[in-house]
Structures are given as structure tokens and as C-alpha cells.
Symmetry: C2
Subunit: 543 residues, 2 copies
Amino acid sequence: MSDAFNKELEKNKGNYAPLSPISFIAWAANVYPERLAVVYGEQQQTWKETYTRCRQFASALVRLGVEYGDTVAIMAPNTPVMFEAHYGIPMAGAVINALNTRLDSVAIAFMLQHGGAKVLLVDREYKGVVSAALATLDEKPLLIDIADANLADLPPVGDLEYEVFIETGDPLFNQQLPEDEWDAIALSYTSGTTGDPKGVVTHHRGAYLNALGNVVTWTMPYFSRYLWTLPMFHCNGWCFPWTLAAVAGTSICLRRVESDVIFKLMRDHDVTHMCGAPVVYNTLINASVSKGQMLKSRIKGMIAGAAPPRSVIEGAELLGIDLTHVYGLTEVYGPAAVCAQHPEWEKLSLEERAQKNGRQGVRYVVQEGMDVLDPETMRPVARDGQSMGEICFRGNITMKGYLKNPKATQSAFNGGWFHTGDLAVIDTFGYVTIKDRSKDIIISGGENISTIEIEDVLCQDSRILEAAVVAQADERWGEVPCAFITLKSSETVMTENDVIEFCRERLARYKCPKRVIFGVLPKTSTGKIQKAVLRDRLRETNY
Amino acid sequence: MSDAFNKELEKNKGNYAPLSPISFIAWAANVYPERLAVVYGEQQQTWKETYTRCRQFASALVRLGVEYGDTVAIMAPNTPVMFEAHYGIPMAGAVINALNTRLDSVAIAFMLQHGGAKVLLVDREYKGVVSAALATLDEKPLLIDIADANLADLPPVGDLEYEVFIETGDPLFNQQLPEDEWDAIALSYTSGTTGDPKGVVTHHRGAYLNALGNVVTWTMPYFSRYLWTLPMFHCNGWCFPWTLAAVAGTSICLRRVESDVIFKLMRDHDVTHMCGAPVVYNTLINASVSKGQMLKSRIKGMIAGAAPPRSVIEGAELLGIDLTHVYGLTEVYGPAAVCAQHPEWEKLSLEERAQKNGRQGVRYVVQEGMDVLDPETMRPVARDGQSMGEICFRGNITMKGYLKNPKATQSAFNGGWFHTGDLAVIDTFGYVTIKDRSKDIIISGGENISTIEIEDVLCQDSRILEAAVVAQADERWGEVPCAFITLKSSETVMTENDVIEFCRERLARYKCPKRVIFGVLPKTSTGKIQKAVLRDRLRETNY
């Protein structure tokens, strides 16, 4: 660097500030104080009120003894308090640890202990599981009870109720930006299907950038009305609590993903945006078909967690939801890839559009790199839509690493990229398509078989609700596909042969399941099918 | 900070990349390779082609001997080469110094010498002024001649033509991000009305953030079609060359701001966005009135440089342009404040809307702070719309400082804020309104008089085209206002008394001009009225 451009041109208070999404709420509260920030049932809060409450919350935490870099955990559904926690906790200099409300007490106890939570806020709905978890801990966090006017009959979790607690805080609390933008803003445990959960540590810089990345990727206008169908405990709601302040939008909160409630909220509040897994959209599509629900105006929906099948893309379109398919993981702040759409696709058939939109896509513009690499050589695979490799990310929308787990951190960042563990191909357009999780791929007679490809075919049969394919040991081929299937209703008739025949018409012979098992599929608390359990079940059948 | 959240959680290549807007062009070229990046007359370039050309440009600079941190200057109107320079130069690790094409050879020579340009790219239109400038320099930069197919008859500036030059570069040049995001990306000289121009040094981090800030502030969608009515030599076109890559938009280039050309381009290319000073919009409004030009679909226009008068707001609205009023300076990367609109304003009268939209507004969401401070105490003035202070900024959208001018840098950042030199008030809504430049304010009998306020009143008279008010020495009051006025046409009749009477009906007596001088107003190369020249003229009249 030429000396002249750095000499006596250092950072100072006037030209440098650590990036943090907490600066967005001050903006929203100052510029649009009277616009709604949060709606929940009868409760409505402006940005000015919400900012004041968050400052009180932060101040109350500090007065309670919370120090810079302490962990503050929260177990709550998508209520206003959960939203406020995304500001109040980091404004106090603390790290927010949002707990998955579907977890059992053993997992919760592990996280509280491992994350070292000093304070734990708990919605009364989770009193049972939290009490059981706390009973096993030697060092217990300070408990704050979250009441809900809509559920007045639930007994308190502890002595100190949230509203009373924040009353102890200063409404003019002077929140500070983080000392360093690389400091932690959140701790989020992955729901790993095997082994202990890992604690993903994210930083203020990444949260700030991904919050803006959401706006750019989705062209989100000011005053967007966002329906909280995506749990905020999933990677901090993909950074949307922070995004919404940057556009002075409104959070429409809800406790549970139920179609009647959702349709009512959509109508009452003219919802413009929502996020969720395919199951959320499926629920709406099915309810709409049976009840003739229609939306007044079109909604933009982000969908992630699995590629949206044709039926979801079509159903959502008819319902009035325009889907954007995104892809990510907790380790990359939620979505860090998007199946960026091209206007030309509108002319394609539904089938072709489903294929185009089913891809995991390309990097977010705020993520620096995304590619499919050979994990041995770390070189990009050919962009032929055939060669398989691992999806890797690099850039600012990537976690610091795993808490107290340097081995896992090092392994995740091996070769200077973050390894997702997802196996994929990349096409000539540079769009990535997931083929399988590394541990799920089936190797049969030396050929890689994508279980997702088989599952996609199975779901095209109108009798099948859900399908999961895993490897079954085979003397001749090494491994062969075995399909676990849930039928649409108990009256549906389908035999193993029907399934295999259906696949034979659509797949290469070696990819067709050799065995079919009908029944309910085991799932994790976040709704992911537990293939490890299916594999165990298979081994135990001695087949 | 709790040790756990930093221990073995350092930055690595996988989770940290310096912020730089040059990463946007790789994104646009990979995701939307076939969409148009640049249009200029018959010339059309896709993002893929433009990215390739920029890589060649960068590579050619490196092969020419340009090193990391060297200055590369360019003197060109808003042509494709000027656009490419915003990527090619920083991709080579160099600092872009875009020269104001309206400057004379003395100013150009000063900038080339002071900025230490190693290479200078020159559009043939500026051969004369550049040759004169170079003749005075001992050390001359390497000259690259920019030809324009539309102006084939102009003689070359030097031996090496741009197209031939970039042919020497590698189209697969592997551009690197900056070593540090704090490193300089651009050097831009202010057009200071007195003294030597100051070299504003901006960094990659700020350019990246303000490029995204433009998208958020304006809700800019993908594939925006942006008309280049704003010179790219003004604070790098307010970062829009970089913004446009982040949304895969199209730059509609043009050599000159002429209403016929602009209306044709708007129609031919379905322009969606444009920026400019009030004079640009005035030109269009006046042309539209005389020729009945109308736009097919509405355009979003950013306006800055002066508060948009009622006639401009109304005229633009009727024409089909929705204005957003922004405010900034070269030191803050162009606009760093916006008069953020409220939907409620739509119900107001035109006059009330003009008043609301005439304010300089609030900070960009990516700028950390903006306030009106008492420059003595550095404390915020009362938010009463009356108390005057200086507009100050702080945050990431602020320059590193002035090149080789530590004294000016220190003074600009005195007290931990960047001082704009603009005097203003701030209202209860937190919106800032400029009253005057520090050096322009008139102090009469101990009262501060805003010259802008008087000028605003004068422009309400339909006979007056332009007005500038300066202080005139007065034995009794210290200073009194003197108005310089340009009438709309040579046939317009207006006397000194007419002007004073007009003001008396609308202003406090002490604010009314005591003297009126008719004639053409002297302006800087960027179109700013030179009040210093007017003050000199006044002193010389011995009045």
C-alpha cells in the first residue's frame, strides 16, 4: 500500500464504528417512531415503544449483573419478548442463546450448562421441560418468567416476571456498540442428528451484513409486514429480527404454526413476507384446498430446509405466495445462498420452473464465496451438473466457530472454507443442487446414489405423503437403497411392489429401492427426518 | 468479553473477507451473466462481458507496472470506460481518482501532482485541458487515450488507446480483495470554493456499505435500469457503479445532460432510476412543459445538492418522477442522509409536502450517526427546529481523511465527529434542515440570518431564475444581506425595489436584502454558486 493513503489516515470515532445490527433499532425508532414494530394478538407496539422496552431490558440485565460477553438464554415461541430479546440481550453486551422449544430436558440442560447461561428467560408453556432441565444442573441460571396475556392460566416459571423485570431497567439506557464487531452476538445449538449439539458462535459483523443481505436479496421495502412462521430460535430467525428494523417493518408474532391462525393474521395485517420450511407452506396449501382460503394480495415467501417440490411451488403460486428458495445452515446465519430467479423462467412450464427453483442456487451477495469442492483436494468440481462434491462457503456470513470445540471448528474450516457436509453438484450456470448429506449418500456397486433424488421421485406418487431413503447393507452391491414411506391416509393402498414399479419407470434400475417399509418417520425436534434412527432400525431387523 | 466466545474462534479464510464492492461484480457476472450491465448508444455489454473487460483492464494495469496503492486517474464523462474504471482500477489494487471534467488545466495539474497519479485515462473530449495540465508537470503519468465511436473525428490524446490497452490484459485475471478493507479505494478532490482542493480518501469498507445502503434506502430491485445523469466523478457517482452490480442492474450511459437525449433514453430503455442535482430535474421539467414530453412509467429520482424547491417537487411529480431527497458530501461517499418519507405525507398539500421533503433528513441506515452539534461544545442542539448548529456525521460511511493534509483531517474530525461545515437546525422528528454554510451565514445586529432562507423566498417569485445572497459589510448592523439575481429572460422586468418588496411580504424585515444586483451568477465546475466571488465583487464595488 502506498504510504500516502494510510499515513495519518487512521480509524477514529468519526469514521469507524463496529458493525452491529443493534444500530438498526435506534434508526427505526428515531425515523419511524410511530410505526408498528410488533403485533401479537391485541398487543401492538411502535418502534419507539419497542426500542424503549429493549433499552429497559438491556439495562435490567446489566443491573442484574450480566457482564459483557455473558450468555443469556431464552426459551420462547415467536412472541414479542422473543423479538425484544434479539435487541435487549446484545444491547447489554451479552450473547443471545435462543433455545429450540421442541427439545427435551436433557438437551436443554446440556445447552444451559455448555453455554454457561447466566440468565434464562422462559415462556410459561415450557415450565415443565425447563424445570426438569434445571433440576439436573449444579449451577442454575437466574430465571425470568415470561407470562402471556393470551395464556393467563399457566403457572409462573419463577418469581421474577419479565414485565416486572424490565421495569427495573432505565428506559434511556445508553446502549453501546460491541467493543469489536468480531465479538459474539449469538450462540445457537445445532440439532445434530447424532452426538452432542454443537454451539455455533456468530458475530455482530455477520449479523449486520446478513440482515442487510436479506433486504437486498428480497428487495424488501420499508414497512414490510412480516409473519413469524419461522421460529426465531432457528439461527435467530435467519437474522430477520434485525432486518426488520433496517426497513422499519412490522413483526406479526404467533405462538404456533396453525393454518387458521395464519390465514387470519395474513388477512388482518396484510402480511407481505414470510419464511419457513416446505412443511409450513404445505400446511397452508392443504388447508386452502379444503377450506377455500384465498389471500387478498400476494405474499413473498422464503422457503428453505429442503428443495420445494413441484406440488409446493404450484400450490403456493395458486394460493398467492411467490416463493424464493434459499439455502443455509446455522453456521452461516441461516440463508447464505439463494436460488436467484431469472425473469425468463416465467415462460417455462411448471415442471421446468420447479427444476430451476429446486436448486440451492448461488451465494448471497454479502457472502464472499460458495462452491462445490472435492473435499480431498479442495478443488472445485466440474460445473457439469454431474460431478459431486461438498458445498463450501467462505466469507463474512460464516460463524466464528463452535463454542469450546476447537477440533470441530478446525475440521469445519479445513482448507480455508466452511464445510457444510452437504453433497451437491453445480451446473453450468453456477447453481448448486444438493444431492445428499455426506453421511446419507448410498454407494452401490461403486456408484454414488443420491437418496434425495429417490425421495423426490417417491413424492411424485400421489399416494405417498413422505419418504426417506437410507442405505441397506448388501453382500453383492455393498449398499442398496431402502425406502421408508408414510402414506397419505390409513385407507391408501400401496404395496412394496407398487413403490418399486413406480420408481423403475422413473429412475435407473440401480437407484430403485430394493426394499420398502411403511410407517411413521422419526423426526428431530426441528422436523428433520432422523435417518440415523432408520438405519439403526434397519440393522436391528437383521434383514 | 467472556473468554469462551473468543478462544480458538479467530478469523480465518473461511469466515472473514475484507469488505469491498469489487466482490459485487463477480456475483453479477456469475449469477446474471447475460443481463445488460452497460448501454451506451449502440453499444451493449452484458455483466459477463463487462466483468471480463474489467479483469483485463486490471491485469493490463498490473502489467503496466501499477502496484498496490498506486493512484490511477481518469478524466471522462459517464461512458462505459468510466464505469469499468470503478472496477478495473480497484481490482488492480489501485486507487481510482476520477477527475471533474469541468475543471481547468491548473486544477487538473494540481490534482495529478498532489494525488501522484501513475496512469491517467483521458477521454478525447478533454485533450486540450489535459495537455495543458501535463505540460506543467515534471513527472507525467502514463497516458491512456479513450476513443468514442460516437465521436470518431476527435484526435487521440496519446499513443495507447484504451481498447488496445485492455487487450494486453488477462481476461481471467484473478483479482484479489484488498489486503485490508480500510485500504483506499478512491481519491476524490473537493471543488472547494476557496484554496487548494482537498483530496478525500475513501476506503473499500465504506464503499461496500454505502453501495448496499443505496439499495436499502431506495428499495432498489434487481435489474434496475439506472440513467447516468449524475457524473461518476462526483464521489464515484454516489457509489452507484457498485450498487448496480449488487442488484445486477443496467447502467444507461450518456455523455451530456441534455433533455432530448435523456427523454429518448428513458423511453428506449425503460429507465427506472436516476440521480442528480435540482438543475437536472429543472431541465427536464422545463423541456417537458415546452415539448409535452411524458414518461411511459414512473421513475425514481434521487435529488441532492440543494433542497428541492416546490416547483421541482411538483414538476417532477407531474412529469412522472418520484423524488427522494438525499444529502451528503464527498467526505461521506455521496449521500449519507435521506429525507426518509412517511406514507402519511401523501395526504398533505403540495406546500406541506415540499416543506417535509425539503429537509436534509436523517442518517442512512448504514451511517452510524448524524446530528446537529454546537461546534464549540460538541453537544447536540435542541431539537426545536430553531437552534442552529453544525451537521456532523460519524460512522462507516465517512472518509479516512484528506490526502497529505493531516491538519485538515484533524480539524474535520475534531471531537470525534466529521464536521460538514453546514449549519442547520433539527426538528422534533429528528430531521435536519440546512440553514447555511458556516462561512455564508450573515450576522446582522447579532442575529444569524440564513442566506438559504432568503434565496428560497426569492425563488418563489416567478420572474427570478436564480438567486444568491451574501453578507455585505454595514456600519450599523455589522452585516446585511445583499442579493444577486438572475432573471428568467432578458425581457423580464424587475427592479431592486420589486425584489425588496417581495421579500418584505414574506420575511422578517431584518432578513430582507438591503441591496440587489442583477446578472449572471459565477459558478464552480460542479455548478455550485461561488459566493466567495460574489463577496469579492461586492468589496470591489466600494459600496
